[in-house]
């Protein structure tokens, strides 16, 4: 049973966690937006923009962490644009989100061509390198997978912990969750719903952009078109899968990534009898199945996608 042996390989789990990392950033970002009541369909485009922003900063001579910060700022800027249209103006979150995705993607490709007019194969940068954590990384099987990754993966872990802490243990998190459930509760307690929602969308979008930057700075080492390849849409499904809870969403991201890593290895051992597209489909089919099983009765934030106007009931 070669297929099952894959599950015992350290390299498989290392790959799974690496594939999960950008999804974790993006999923936490989307989760924060949705918890505040805003569906952010700009995620796919924001990830493209973040991937490019981080990469081009390093390509232009900046150091890696500066690249991450620039990506986050670019994400936050798109978040601000999204929030301005959807929160105070109350426009359709679907339309604005898709618009942001198209706009951010096209703007990124355009900028890429402006910066590198003559290049046919995209230049590589020196990416983040794995940084094994002493002693932790020596635990059999999980040690290498969890603690011999690049610093950006460790940042992803931290983002989950901080998101969970802030949402459930702090007054700010209370306000964010209430804004997504019943914004008039927030208003009645003297907090601005608009400020909470705009802030949440900006922070969430910054995380999405870092998720994009992970691809160029910690995985593929260069920027090319179509590289985000639907990861943003997957993150939206993972938020539902996780019932809007950071811990469960993290589990979902790792599970999806494991399926993805698994199918790549299955392709190699199948010896070309089964068309490789079948394997490519697998994680998506499994995630639809998982959604049907897990998320059918999910309780979504009640004010999700409902614009809030002051004084209206």
């Amino acid at each position: 049973m070669e297929a099952f042996e894959i599950l015992l390989q350290t390299s498989f789990w290392v790959a799974a966690i690496r594939i999960a990392s950008p999804l974790i950033f993006a999923t936490m970002g989307e989760l924060i937006c949705e918890r505040a009541g805003v569906l952010n369909l700009g995620i796919e485009g924001i990830m493209v923009a973040g991937a490019f922003a981080g990469w081009v900063t390093v390509y232009g001579g900046g150091d890696l962490w500066t690249g991450v910060v620039v990506a986050a700022l670019v994400g936050a800027a798109f978040g601000l644009l999204h929030a301005t249209l959807t929160v105070p103006l109350g426009l359709s979150q679907h339309v604005v989100g898709i618009g942001i995705t198209l706009f951010a993607t096209s703007l990124t490709y355009f900028t890429y061509r402006l910066v590198l007019p003559q290049v046919s194969s995209p230049p590589k940068i020196e990416p983040f390198t794995p940084l094994p954590i002493p002693s932790l990384s020596e635990i059999p099987l999980v040690g290498q997978a969890l603690f011999a990754q690049t610093p950006l993966t460790y940042l992803a872990y931290a983002v989950v912990a901080v998101t969970a802490w802030v949402l459930y243990r702090t007054p700010l998190g209370l306000a964010v969750r209430a804004a997504g459930e019943n914004p008039s509760a927030v208003e009645a307690q003297g907090i601005s719903v608009a400020a909470i929602r705009i802030g949440a969308v900006m922070v969430g979008s910054a995380l999405m952009a870092i998720g994009g930057a992970f691809l160029t700075m910690s995985a593929f080492n260069s920027f090319f078109f179509e590289m985000v390849n639907g990861r943003g849409w997957i993150a939206i499904a993972l938020v539902v899968f996780g019932s809007w809870r950071p811990g469960k969403a993290l589990l979902g991201a790792v599970l999806f990534a494991a399926f993805d890593a698994f199918q790549i290895r299955l392709q190699q051992i199948s010896g070309g009898i089964v068309p490789y597209q079948v394997f490519l489909m697998m994680p998506y089919i499994l995630s639809i199945a998982a959604l049907i099983l897990v998320a059918r009765r999910a309780t979504y934030p009640k004010a999700l996608m409902v614009p809030y106007q002051k004084g209206e009931r």
Binding site: R169, P171, A178, E181, G311
Partner: protein, 508 residues
């Protein structure tokens, strides 16, 4: 009573376009006083409150609390000044706990962690001191409506409110819960709080307030000491004239026109019904009382044909229905006034003419060979507008532009057209002003007189008692035995509404 005014409104004026919602309103509330603000829908009560609380900015005038003028448009200033508000629609997040809802906004947003211990002990202390028992760690979504209201009051007290504003607080409560609320309010006043109580229910105002202010058409039209006036005088002031209470004539009880026997129904969402039997007689109004969410919606949907029974039979005028769909219900002669005139009763962006034929557009009267006869549709709309005294610019106006009362009159006209033998009137007067309520009632009584069987579903017990020949109470999907006019007292009905069994009632 101490004479110090704790809250003073001076010359508040608010305009929306050409509409003057509040016209130079001035009054004050003194310490330890309960002031009732009485007025019909659209009299400007809600606007005034929104100004008080900082949701709206007044065009003119000022709000003063404890001698200091509040900055306009800042809910925080109102909160800080000790004004607490209990909204009609609760401002609670259902997925959070009592503690989280109460603590929301009371600690710095940038604090690294929420101090639950402190919040929990303060909530417990307040809950004990004011008899507002709730578990701080309970999730709001699992609480009853009465408990949720207690949380709203706790929220205000937690912020050291000295002035409590309650907007139609009893609209969603059972009579028992309302009693409990009044006891709490009296306790609060005894401890020195002042209360501004907004309502359109006369008996509550008489029961709780020291002073009554009456609003009509955005103006303050009267101010009375509660013990120096009576309900009639207040009602007249509120409406601007005498309102005749509906005269219920004696009508011969007819045969059974609508019958449910051993009917069970499982709606996709909502309360299921088991083995329900109900007979509606001609010439009779059967009132169905109950707290909303106890199965009335399912029964109404069943009667309207929007859900089919899973077992049991439905018969109209003795004829058993074989399949039960909205069209079958209409065809059998059930006139339907739905609970929500905006969501179900009408299509807002379609015209008056389109809406009034929506139940009958397939008939020969309004279509020929698959083409609609617009002349007939407009003529029908015009007839209804004339017969039901609807204020409406033209049959081609979009129905959403009509006021609630006018929209309801059209829906009623549509339902009563052709003198249906059975009428379902689900919350027919909710949200209407006194004049429109009287009109709807008189039309229902007219239908009763000509021999129709009417089921009146209402959360307003007064309405049920005023009109019904027999009263049923629905609780947890079960129907009580009917009681004839005057047979059960309000408190007995209240007990049944709260879920006590009839046996327990008889034993007591």
């Amino acid at each position: 009573m101490s004479p110090t005014p704790v809250l003073r409104l001076h010359n508040i004026t608010k305009r929306f376009g050409s509409l003057v919602a509040n016209d130079a309103i001035s009054f004050d509330v003194r310490e330890g006083e309960v002031v009732a603000l009485l007025g019909e829908n659209g009299a400007g009560k809600t606007t005034l409150m929104n100004i008080l609380f900082g949701h709206y900015v007044a065009d003119e005038g000022t709000v003063e609390a404890f001698g200091k003028v509040l900055p306009a448009g800042d809910p925080n200033a109102a909160l800080a000044a000790g004004i607490g508000m209990v909204h009609q629609h609760f401002t609670l997040a259902d997925n959070m706990t009592v503690l989280e809802n109460v603590a929301l906004g009371t600690q710095s947003l940038w604090a690294p962690r929420l101090d639950r211990k402190e919040a929990s002990s303060r909530i417990r202390a307040l809950a004990q001191g004011f008899g507002l028992v709730v578990d701080p760690d309970a999730t709001i979504g699992r609480l009853t409506v009465g408990e949720r209201q207690r949380v709203e009051i706790l929220k205000a007290l937690y912020r050291d409110a000295r002035i409590l504003i309650l907007d139609e607080p009893t609209a969603v409560l059972t009579p028992g819960e309302a009693e409990a609320l009044f006891r709490t309010l009296k306790l609060l006043v005894a401890k020195g709080l002042s209360i501004l109580f907004i309502s359109h229910k006369m008996h509550e105002v008489t029961a709780i307030s020291d002073r009554v202010l009456v609003l009509r058409g955005g103006k303050l039209v009267g101010e009375r000491k509660t013990n120096e006036t009576d309900s009639r005088a207040m009602a007249a002031l509120m409406v601007g004239g005498e309102i005749a209470s509906p005269k219920v004539e004696a009508v011969q009880r007819g045969s059974v026109r609508f019958a449910l026997s051993q009917v069970s129904a499982r709606p996709p969402a909502g309360v299921p019904l088991n083995n329900l039997t109900l007979e509606l007689h001609g010439g009779e109004i059967a009132g169905l009382a109950g707290v909303s969410g106890n199965g009335q919606a399912t029964l109404a949907a069943l009667m309207a044909g929007t859900i089919a029974p899973s077992s049991g039979t439905i018969a109209v005028d003795g004829r058993e229905a074989r399949s039960w769909t909205p069209r079958a219900a209409l065809g059998a002669g059930i006139g339907r006034v739905p609970e929500d005139r905006h969501a179900v009763g009408s299509i807002g962006d379609m015209t008056v003419a389109e809406n009034v034929i929506s139940e009958r557009y397939r008939t020969r009267r309004f279509s020929r060979f698959g083409f609609l006869d617009w002349t007939a549709a407009r003529r029908f709309a015009e007839e209804l507008v004339r017969d039901y005294d609807v204020k409406c610019p033209s049959p081609d106006a979009r129905i959403r532009l009509l006021s609630g009362g006018n929209m309801q009159k059209l829906i009623l006209g549509r339902a009563l057209d052709g003198d249906p033998p059975v009428i379902l009137a689900n919350q027919p007067t909710r949200g209407l002003d006194v004049g429109a309520v009287a009109y709807v009632h008189s039309r229902l009584l007219q239908a009763r007189k000509r021999g129709a069987a009417i089921l009146l579903i209402s959360e307003d017990l007064e309405e049920i008692l005023a009109l019904s020949d027999r009263v049923y109470v629905m609780s947890k999907g079960r129907l009580s035995s009917p009681s004839a006019r005057g047979e059960r007292s309000v408190s007995e009905l209240g007990e049944l509404m709260a879920g006590r069994s009839e046996d327990a009632l008889h034993a007591a």
